[in-house]
Amino acid sequence: MSSETETAYAYISAAPILLPEGPWKQIPGGVTAAKGFKAAGIYGGLRAVGEKPDLALVTCDTDAISAGAFTTNIVAAAPVQYCKNVLGLSTTARAVLVNAGQANAATGDAGYQDAVESANAVAQLLKVNPNAVLIESTGVIGQRIKKEALLNSLPRLVGSLSSNVQSADSAAVAITTTDLVSKSVAVETQVGGVSVRIGGMAKGSGMIHPNMA
């Protein structure tokens, strides 16, 4: 796993994160900063060019309360449709699988089936309900995900899961496309006198004018 992590660092640096002053402090880590979460980011052979990591997985040790915001573009990608359906059925989730390389958008029924099969495969490896796995995809529009490469990589991806900072960073790198920097942040604050952590990762550089709901 450490070689995967070092590989991720070699491809892209971290973005400056601009946070205002407030009753919080920035802490190391991103999606793994909060208790109960693990992450991994590896190269799975999905990108057309280069070997930058392109598969990320975020998991929760418990049934996490889930929420989502999705593009209101009528031509929504298969993973968006899949997630909307799943979040309509369940209020909790255990994992989010993200791939870069192919957006799986405008790919019709076959693309939707790819999303379902990807989620099922992750669920099987994690031994959780398939409806507990959410999917995000980014990359070239009009191309289905390289499913064989993705499915073959999943055992290694699951095996790389860790709650450390490096794993969060690797995941943040793995979801990038034309991004020049990876985006990851975590903060700690007090809620009702108890320390609570919030972390996150994001990607985006072009085709950016979100209108999510």
Binding site: V31, I65, T71, S195, R197, G199, G204, G206, M207, N211
Partner: protein
Amino acid sequence: TLLGVVTTDALVTSKIWREMVRTSVNRSFNQITVDGDTSTNDCVIALASGISGSSGISDLHSNEALQLQACLDVVMQGLAKSIAWDGEGATCLIEVTVTGTGNEADAAKIARTVASSSLVKAAIYGRDPNWGRIACAAGYAGIHFDAKKLDISLGSIQLMKNGQPLAFDRSAASSYLRMAGEAHGTVEIHISVGDGPGNGQAWGCDLSYDYVKINAEYTT
């Protein structure tokens, strides 16, 4: 495309968590723009493990909910700003702050309209303190305001007051833009449209020749 995954160990009910995420997304990711194209894949997933040991949040107006909401806003805004900062071909982040509207949503709409303007973005890249383009974009945002109450500042340099252009130091204003571009820093645009309590922000980036180059080469 914008993708995001947010995690917390706060204990919160499903209904409250989904409402909090909706609010924070509207204050952050939905307030950025790079090129005006809304992706087919934009998606933010937020998970709450509930194992921090904090007491459960089930009232959106409780102190605990407000504390968590503020923190969620900050995390999502931090990520959102880094996306705008990293806009394809960008040399700087543009932060537009609007005050004086009747409510937060109106201010947010004006701010995002200005941040989205290709002419404003190109002017910033050209290091041109073009208050007219900023005023124009504010005016077509679809939010009514009195043009005679329009104030515009670039950083600390005021360009327009009460709808009247000011005799500002053009060289200093241009230098402000140039330094922000050279350092890949932030250009701040402040707009006031009245005396109302509403305020909002949006974030974008300048528009450079490289944007076309990148997207002409990134094909299906």
